[in-house]
Symmetry: C2
Subunit: 145 residues, 2 copies
């Protein structure tokens, strides 16, 4: 099915998904967090055709998720996450924590770790303004009137 | 492009995206958090064809994101998030917070609020085991050796 355009949706979740709602976007960003900057590195990690990856990286540069630094000798250049791109890290972390708990895998997987001591991050908790931990049933979704 | 199967990927982010990596999945879950339980409610919110929604809801029931309670008189029944489905709420919240900050919208949008007092949630911060707030550059992605 053709992707619906959500960039003018009133819901901020929908607008975010307009940018990162295809599975490959967050995997490219994950690879960038892991240190990948070059076209060939992304291609090796994602195992997709060059023309498809080129289209995707171009879209992410247009969305200002990545900035690209050209090379003097031509070629693809290097791709770096912008502040806007780096701000997606909490989405990656919550997806990783959900995946660790709710999907099956019996070996060591990719980990997002504290750079200082290579320890796992604390589990993300949703909190109220006054510091209460909020369980799923403590949160409501309200649409504008 | 055909969706790659990621359910045996070593990366928990990829495995999560195998379940929720299509934009519509998280929007259906958002609507369920907002109180939708009936087929017609999801259809009205998402504005998609009945056969497409039926396929999607079936997939989410197979993934145990939703449980379906049948009705005596037939029909679609009611769809409720399981604990596994509700555990995706931090993913929705981090997407919403990113969307509020990094996408453009000039009116009131859907909000995820503290049910007790209808206040916005605290901004999600990534934290180390010992309680330091981690900025994006304080987090590294490590692949298994």
């Amino acid at each position: 099915m053709k992707r619906k355009c959500l960039d003018e949706d009133q819901c901020p979740i929908a607008r975010s998904l307009d940018v990162v709602g295809d599975w490959w976007t967050l995997l490219i960003i994950r690879d960038a967090v892991g240190g990948a900057t070059r076209f060939g590195e992304f291609q090796k990690h994602l195992d997709i055709a060059k023309n498809i990856l080129a289209t995707r990286l171009k879209a992410l540069v247009e969305q200002r998720i990545f900035t690209v630094v050209s090379e003097a000798e031509g070629g693809h250049g290097q791709y770096f996450l912008t502040a806007k791109g780096k701000a997606l890290l909490p989405v990656l972390v919550t997806l990783a924590q959900w995946g660790e708990e709710h999907t099956v895998w019996d070996a060591e997987g990719t980990k997002l770790l504290d750079a200082k001591n290579l320890q796992p991050l604390r589990r993300v908790e949703l909190m109220s303004q006054d510091g209460r931990i909020l369980r799923p049933d403590d949160v409501v979704a309200i649409e504008p009137a």
